[in-house]
């Protein structure tokens, strides 16, 4: 297995001559900047990767024994070089716990210090620990939400599970699947799986609570005279009656065509009227609008000289 060298000094951003105090200060500053729990959802995964690197570097440089061992490798190594550990490396130090650390470390770290040498690996007592909880994102389309049912999903650990999509979930709902997290340590109970639900954006609808909104474009005459228009709902096309004299911005409600609620009811679909103006009217249209102009009493903002 090819292991790549990691330059821990580079990761922390300190010279090789840095004092313990300097390393601590630099690490704290980086942790404040990259801690995944400080980030909004979209940036969390990337920050988690970076933070893991920073922690690993700190784990080595802040521990005098590990730093000595690391420094003994010499100065000629560069990040990413193929690395073969010196003989005798990789064994967990005597007295360290006899279970594998749950927190994962890089292969480079493991080749030097063993896998059990991470933060939780010290102590020397045989402990029973509940497995770590796992957090994952589940992106659900509006259609899937409506149909409900089961969804297969692949977890970061590799195994696949089936999750039931309850009808009432919304963007940022959290689902808990008890016992679906990582396995426990020494017979401890498994952790839980927390699924953060994301609603996939829909090209036509916007989600507002239980309701959906969609833009309904109307020609001026449809808005004035009223009309029957086709509207696509999640359940298929329906005919919507536009009442005469419908202003732009009016919300026309289609009852029960929104998102499913936990109690089996449905929210509403709001068609929001947008009156659109023909940019290039045909001759016939132009004449019709001219006639409309003559028939309309002077509007308040029109010069009276006309």
């Amino acid at each position: 297995m090819a292991v790549k060298f990691r330059d821990y000094y580079e990761v922390i951003g300190v010279p090789r001559t840095a004092t313990a105090e300097e390393i601590k200060r630099a690490y704290r500053k980086l942790a404040r900047k990259h801690h995944p729990d400080l980030k909004p959802a979209a940036e969390r995964a990337a920050a988690a990767e970076r933070f893991k690197e920073i922690n690993e570097a700190n784990e080595v440089l802040s521990d005098p024994d590990k730093r000595l061992k690391y420094d003994a490798l010499g100065q000629n190594w560069k990040s990413g070089m193929d690395f073969t550990p010196p003989p005798g490396s990789g064994q967990a130090a005597p007295g360290s716990a006899d279970w594998e650390d749950v927190g994962d470390v890089s292969d480079f770290f493991a080749s030097l210090f063993g896998r059990g040498a991470g933060r939780r690996g010290r102590g020397g007592v045989r402990v029973t620990l509940p497995g770590s909880d796992v957090e994952a994102e589940l992106t659900v389309t509006l259609d899937e939400l409506l149909r409900g049912g089961k969804r297969r999903l692949q977890l970061p650990g590799g195994h696949t599970i089936e999750a039931e999509i309850p009808p009432g979930v919304r963007d940022s709902s959290v689902l808990r699947l008890a016992g679906q997290g990582e396995a426990g340590v020494n017979g401890g109970p498994p952790g839980d799986l927390f699924l953060h639900v994301r609603l996939a954006p829909h090209p036509r609808y916007r989600v507002a609570g239980d309701d959906l909104e969609l833009d309904l474009e109307l020609a001026p005459w449809q808005a004035v005279l009223g009309d029957e228009v086709m509207v696509e709902t999640l359940d298929g096309p329906v005919t919507l009656k536009v009442p005469p004299g419908t202003p732009s911005g009016r919300r026309l409600r289609l009852r029960g065509r929104g998102l499913p609620r936990a109690n089996g009811e449905r929210g509403d679909l709001h068609a929001i009227v947008r009156v659109v103006v023909p940019e290039r009217p045909t001759d016939a249209e132009r004449q019709a609008y001219e006639a409309l102009k003559r028939a309309t009493p002077a509007a308040g903002n029109r010069p009276v000289s006309d």
Partner: protein, 105 residues
């Protein structure tokens, strides 16, 4: 819609004793649907786990961690709102408008 957890379930999910959890509720750092019996949402479990990590990694206390979580949740809400609004509608080019000034005196 949220999944409801008991005090005991939350206790195993985050690794804090029921007594400590009850104290955090009294301090208003996590929310329960009522004083007792407690009922927590899965979102609370996630929030609490994040607070514990912040405490461990950044050496902030529970109050500081709760403030951070409030701010991050606000940030999350804003980003979701932005995503909900979708891409800006194609902007109509600004039209040159000819103004005619009318003397009113």
């Amino acid at each position: 819609m949220d999944i409801v957890m008991t005090l005991h379930e939350l206790s195993t999910a985050v690794g804090l004793s029921p007594a400590r959890l009850a104290r955090l509720v009294r301090l208003g750092l996590i929310e329960s649907s009522g004083p007792e019996p407690y009922a927590f949402t899965a979102a609370t479990a996630v929030r609490l786990r994040r607070m514990l990590r912040l405490r461990r990694d950044l050496h902030v206390n529970f109050h500081g961690a709760a403030i951070i979580m409030d701010l991050v949740e606000r940030l999350d809400g804003l980003e979701r709102e932005l995503a909900r609004r979708g891409p800006e509608p194609p902007s109509t080019p600004n039209l040159e408008v000819t103004e005619i000034w009318i003397r009113t005196d």
